[in-house]
């Protein structure tokens, strides 16, 4: 019996770790979506974080914690630089600017010596342990719960619902949008750092447009009205593809189909605020029956 568990764990622990990392990435885009902004640069931020953290542990011998935090800060700073000119403009500009940004990150990583160019970085020390992932995820969930019921959470939601109305409430929307974007970049960067330290190998290919669409799909499928939506979406979409391996190269099309269907028929995603009330109501009915 224990043998079975060990072998199961050996086969699936990477998948399990990935569920956590994808959950973090989903939360990283959730915070920008929750103020009505679409960032397609979170995969690139993850990449910056991954390279920063990996290089710090590999070349500078930095403690893991420091590497991770640095891997969060650098993308956050980059996000501030991109966000400030972009987010004063209407909603579509961030999506457009961040779309091309992933390309820039790829090109820069390819052309730097320290990053190993197109060969990628091999031999990143295996430092990420399960409790690291649980701890970081715990902090994130705690943060988002606190955020939701605070003045900051209300401001983000107001901006999301109606930016003009928010602005005549005296809210300086750009300011909060920039911070939300930078915090998202920070989260993506940390997730990248954690990811790099259990996959052993990273290359610029992993941080382009397709992973950015994956991250978006996590959040859109799960729903962006509560923090549980992105987490549910990322978990489902991380485990599901294992079941759809037989689709081969067409597997990616599944993401696209999900995006289109959810946007059309399930605009609030699978988990939203009503989910909880509906669930309660459902169980009450069962009791009564």
């Amino acid at each position: 019996m224990p043998e079975l568990i060990t072998s199961f764990w050996q086969t699936y622990n990477t998948l399990f770790y990935t569920v956590f990392v994808h959950g973090m990435l989903a939360l990283s885009i959730y915070i920008t979506l929750s103020c009505g902004q679409l960032s397609l640069g979170n995969a690139a931020f993850m990449g910056i974080g991954a390279y920063t953290a990996a290089l710090l542990t590999m070349k500078a011998g930095a403690p893991f914690g420091i590497s991770l935090i640095a891997g969060g800060f650098l993308p956050a700073v980059v996000a501030l630089i991109i966000g400030i000119p972009t987010l004063r403009l209407s909603g579509v500009y961030l999506a457009m600017a961040t779309l091309g940004f992933g390309e820039v990150v790829r090109v820069v990583i390819l052309n730097m010596e320290i990053t190993g160019g197109s060969l990628g970085l091999n031999g990143v020390p295996l430092k990420t342990e399960l409790w690291h992932l649980i701890l970081v995820m715990g902090i994130l969930i705690y943060f988002f719960i606190k955020l939701r019921n605070s003045r900051f959470g209300r401001i983000l939601e107001a901006i999301n619902e109606d930016e003009v109305a928010a602005s005549v409430m005296g809210i300086r929307a750009t300011y909060y949008k920039v911070w939300a974007f930078a915090i998202g970049a920070f989260i993506a960067g940390v997730a990248g750092g954690l990811n790099a330290h259990f996959t052993f190998f990273i290359s610029p290919r992993e941080y382009g447009f397709e992973p950015a669409v994956d991250i978006l799909t996590f959040a859109v499928l799960g729903g962006t009205r509560t923090l549980w939506g992105p987490l549910a979406g990322s978990t489902i979409l991380t485990i599901l593809p294992e079941l759809f391996r037989f689709l081969g190269p067409y597997r990616l099309a599944l993401n696209g189909i999900i995006l289109v269907l959810v946007v059309l028929y399930l605009p609030n995603g699978i988990v939203n605020r009503d989910t909880f009330t509906n669930l309660k109501r459902f169980f009450k009915k069962e009791e009564n029956a």
Binding site: Y93, A97, G100, E103, V104, V107, N111, V220, P249, L264
Partner: protein, 293 residues
Amino acid sequence: MFLQQIANALALSAVYSLFAIGFTLIFGVLEVITLAHGAVFMMGAFAGLIAVTKFNAGLASTLLVSMIVSGLAGYLIDLIAVGPLRKRKFHHLAPMIATIGCATIITSTYQGIFGAEAYRFPFDFVPSTSYDIVGIQLTLLQLIIIGISLFLMVVLIFFLNKTRWGKAVRAVAENPRTAALLGIPVEQVFRLTMSISSAFGGAAGVLTGLNFNTIHTFMGGPILHRGIAVIILGGMGDIRGAMAGGLILGFSEILSVAYISSDFRDAISFGLLFLILLVRPSGIFGKVIERKG
């Protein structure tokens, strides 16, 4: 050498402009950024390739096939994903996300069919003669690309300004509600715009395939980035802007590759985009979009 670069830059710019015109027209009329425009471009290239390699099509019919296939794709994207979103009040990001979905579906399906390798047109599809025009050496291929692009742009401008449907498109771009009051079938205009614009994207695709003589399933991504840079550069929704923006980007890329380094070619469009967002976010010709109370 420099004059040769001008020839290259002209051909490149022509294709960029052609791609961006459709892109910007869709934004101007539907107020949607279709991130599927790159995928539609790739479809056009492959359609042209198949027309040539399997059916021995000539240049004109190849172009036509590309435009029809891509135009149809645009029609379907609007029918299935974008159009239904207009009927209900949705989050403003919804149409863009739907087009990302379409792009992913198209691209991965094509990757499933055609794989990742590069395809080429037959060696002698366009003879490799060249001409000297005011001191610039232009290959026949470059002339064809520039000529077809200019021709299509002129046709589009004629269509928009002189025909009944074209005028309807412009009226809807101005204000869909007023247009509807005037009896213009707004829904049909939206769909027509998606189709025409996508057909232009397809033409740009096949011309790009000819220009570099490579076609692959990843070709939609880079052109999409460039298209975005071009329409922001020119001013969103502005056709003249898309043409001017295409020229600026084409020349910037060719000249920087020639005189600086080719490593960062793919980052130039982002650099230009970022620069314009800093100094003049409304673009060269763009008006500032005003918010309503």
